[in-house]
């Protein structure tokens, strides 16, 4: 064994390698993205790794691998499980031969997501077991257990870390070397692998019986534990349990019941843990899952135990928890005064910092060009998931809707059908286009919609940390591959008009938008310019004496590199990339572009 300082996601990847994983597939999404990246770093090309085109594809690739007896892993964020739910719900019925671990990382807060959905609910919905790690070190061990249970019961299993487990670093003892699992190979058996209603009916019955058995098995699972002996007890899972432990470390007598396998609920374990307990506080992020399970158990066994938590308002019903929320909620429950902090009630007003497009981001140019071209016209701007959702920030204010991956393309059509006097736009990034944009474009052409598709092609998956995708010419096996051309895909679908333009060339971009707005049918503008994080800055812009301090540059495009110093417009040279967009806006030509250096 050796010690490595790794992120929770790294620990999950290393745990999978220790368990002999043969294949892993995923789609990037905060907070899950570093799992596949760590696998790539440590696997030495020994296993098949891929960023799949989306989560559904990843799930299906992994299913086939698990049908052969190989061990497979799928990684995604919680929203990704919605995309992959079609194969996931079915593979839960069919079952697997090799261990299959589906990692779905939840995001309490939410910090980088559209919803605060709870993967534990999905586990119960799909009737598959779920593991809930509370720290990076534990995740390394637990993911290996997850493979064991998956194979033991021939079922895919869910593994549900949350942001603070995924992105917490700690030193973890890991194996010195990894060996992939030996597997038998696919054995044809249509009665087993082809899901007909008859098979679904039979397997449903089997699964319900089996889950009772798994619940019993989980009752002796090593990470389901309780400490202390008080009549009041806290029930917690995941990182919330770590917050509770932090608060209770000076009070070893107070009872803490930790549930690491929320579904199937380990009833026997819980009954034992509740012996002598009169009052329970459930402390968990997202939904009151453990609370409802505890209430059910108490009802089933007619126990005289009071249960509180999210349902009665004893714990916050939404948002991320913390050590401080634990001190507050647990302190009240146990009657422990956490003491006063510093009095900061006289704190000055703090500047708000909504996330914004980076200085020099080419998306800014694309949004601004469309805004300019559509000035005074009725137009709807459908956004999508990625950095470019930030195009909604003032002063650009160019994202009217954002729903889910790929939705902008189809929503632009919906707006057109009911308000055909509006010009409707869909803004979609290159990775999102491949993930879930293409079908929407086919829908538009087939149903004769009228819309303008803006593909913001920055040649990377920027928001989640610059993962490669089908348009980048690289894959996760480290191979250079043929770039899949967005333009050719659109040609193949049969769009009326496809224009490719540099979004940092303002006049050309505005012209492209105007040209497309003149025509009927489905038109596309590919705004092509690399993300500033993967390209070299062109230089720095400079403001000369001609500046009349009208602040038009700041007010129009809101670039973070444009600041005011003592009331005078200035350029923050640490941020400026020399993109020159501001220079094209300045009414008195006071800004020199990158060429000036």
């Amino acid at each position: 064994m050796k010690k490595e300082y790794v992120m929770g996601n790294g620990a999950i990847a290393l745990g999978a390698l220790t368990a002999g994983v043969n294949l892993a597939a995923g789609y990037p999404g905060t907070p899950s993205s570093e799992i596949i990246e760590t696998l790539s770093k440590y696997s030495g090309g020994e296993i098949h790794l891929e960023w799949s085109v989306n989560e559904k594809a990843a799930m299906e690739v992994a299913c086939a691998a698990a049908y052969t007896g190989a061990r497979s892993m799928v990684t995604m964020k919680q929203m990704g499980l919605n995309v992959a739910s079609d194969p996931f719900m079915s593979v839960a019925y069919v079952g697997v031969k090799g261990g299959m671990v589906v990692v779905s990382a939840d995001d309490p807060g939410p910090i980088s997501s559209q919803t605060e959905q709870d993967t534990r609910r999905f586990a119960e919905f799909a009737r598959v077991p779920v593991f809930d790690p509370s720290s990076a070190g534990e995740a390394y061990e637990m993911v290996q257990d997850a493979f064991e249970y998956s194979e033991k019961y021939s079922t895919p299993v869910l593994f549900r870390p949350t942001t603070r487990v995924c992105h917490a670093y700690s030193s973890v003892e890991i194996a010195d070397s990894f060996e992939t699992k030996e597997y038998e190979g696919f054995v044809k058996d249509s009665g087993k692998w082809v899901i007909f209603p008859k098979l679904a009916n039979a397997n449903h019955g089997m699964i319900e019986k089996r889950n009772i058995q798994i619940g019993e098995d989980f009752s002796s699972y090593r990470f389901n534990t309780f400490t202390g002996s008080s009549k009041k007890a806290v029930v917690a899972g995941g990182v919330s349990c770590s917050y509770a432990r932090e608060f209770l470390k000076d009070y070893p007598d107070l009872k803490l019941i930790r549930v690491a396998t929320p579904y199937p609920f380990p009833e026997d374990f819980m009954l034992k843990a509740l012996e002598g307990v009169e009052e329970v506080l459930c402390f968990e992020e997202l939904s009151p899952f453990l609370e409802e399970k505890t209430l059910q158990l108490i009802g089933k066994h007619r126990l005289d135990i009071k249960v509180s938590g999210k349902l009665d308002g004893a714990a916050p019903s939404k948002g991320e928890y913390s050590a401080d929320i634990a001190a507050d909620v647990l302190g009240r429950f146990f009657g422990i005064d956490a003491g006063d902090g510093n009095d900061l009630s006289d704190m000055p007003d703090l500047p708000v910092r909504p996330p914004v497009l980076c200085a020099g981001c080419p998306h800014r140019g694309a949004f601004y060009a469309v805004k300019r071209a559509m000035q005074g016209r009725k137009a709807y701007f459908c956004g999508d998931i990625g950095c470019y959702t930030l195009g909604n920030a003032m002063p650009l204010d160019m994202v009217d809707t954002c729903l889910c991956m790929g939705a902008g393309v189809t929503m632009a059509q919906g707006f057109h059908w009911v308000e055909n006097d509006a010009v409707t736009f869909a803004f979609i990034g290159d990775s999102t286009f491949f993930a879930s944009g293409i079908t929407g474009v086919v829908n538009a052409v087939y149903n004769e919609a009228d819309m303008i598709l803006c593909v913001l092609d920055n040649s990377t998956t920027a928001m989640t940390g610059h993962q490669p995708h089908p348009g980048t010419g690289r894959n996760m096996m480290g191979n250079a591959v043929e770039k899949i051309s967005i333009e050719k895909i659109l040609e193949g679908i049969g769009l009326n008009k496809i224009v490719t333009v540099d979004p940092l060339d303002l006049d050309a971009s505005v012209n492209a938008v105007n040209e497309c707005a003149e025509e009927k049918g489905v038109k596309a503008i590919i705004f092509k310019s690399p993300c500033i994080a993967i390209s070299k800055p062109k230089g720095k812009c400079v403001i000369d004496g001609k500046c009349v301090n009208c602040k038009k540059c700041i007010k129009e495009i809101g670039c973070p590199a444009l600041i005011t110093v003592d009331g005078q417009v200035a350029i923050d040279r640490n941020l400026c990339t020399g993109c020159g967009l501001c220079a094209q806006i300045c009414p008195v030509s006071a800004i020199g572009g990158a060429d000036n250096e």
Binding site: S112, R164, S170, S171, E246, F247, N342, I554, K555
Partner: protein, 190 residues
Amino acid sequence: MNKDILLCGVGGQGTVLAAKILAAAAMNAGEEAHSAETIGMAQRGGPVTSHVRIGESYSPLIPEGKADILMAFEPAEAVRNLHYLSRDGIVIVNKAPVKPITESLHDTGYDGSEMISYLKGKCRCVVMDSEKLASAKFLNIAMLGIAAGTGRLGFTKEQLIVEIEKRVPARFLEANIEAFEKGFETGEEK
């Protein structure tokens, strides 16, 4: 030894690297170390924090009122996170403000100075004049230098330098070490 260090700033200022160096240096000194980062959408110009916990701990996040050192890369971010500081803790704060677009648009005159005077009235405070000390590129390393200089980290200057050497690109190493040394002197003076 238990030591909680909170690093805070604005996405892109280099808090993550500084946190990694601190954790690695602590481990070199034979301690357990944990850290927790802000990753994702907030990195795009939003407030970011790195929680570094040295010694035995459970929560990945530092509880309020427990941080021994608050290393703030930006004055308003220091104030935003001041509730984490323990009563005898120390704040190391970079004086240079990062103005959000909302400020440039509405021009409320935010320049960080009000934050610095508030901090001075509330706690022990080392104010870093980054313009004199180092270019923004080496801000994180200069901050580490100050922290080491105050003698409150619990491990040596050399233990930190070893980790800096491992993590910064060779061509910038000399400039980084220079920034660290200048920071160290500033920290020592306080």
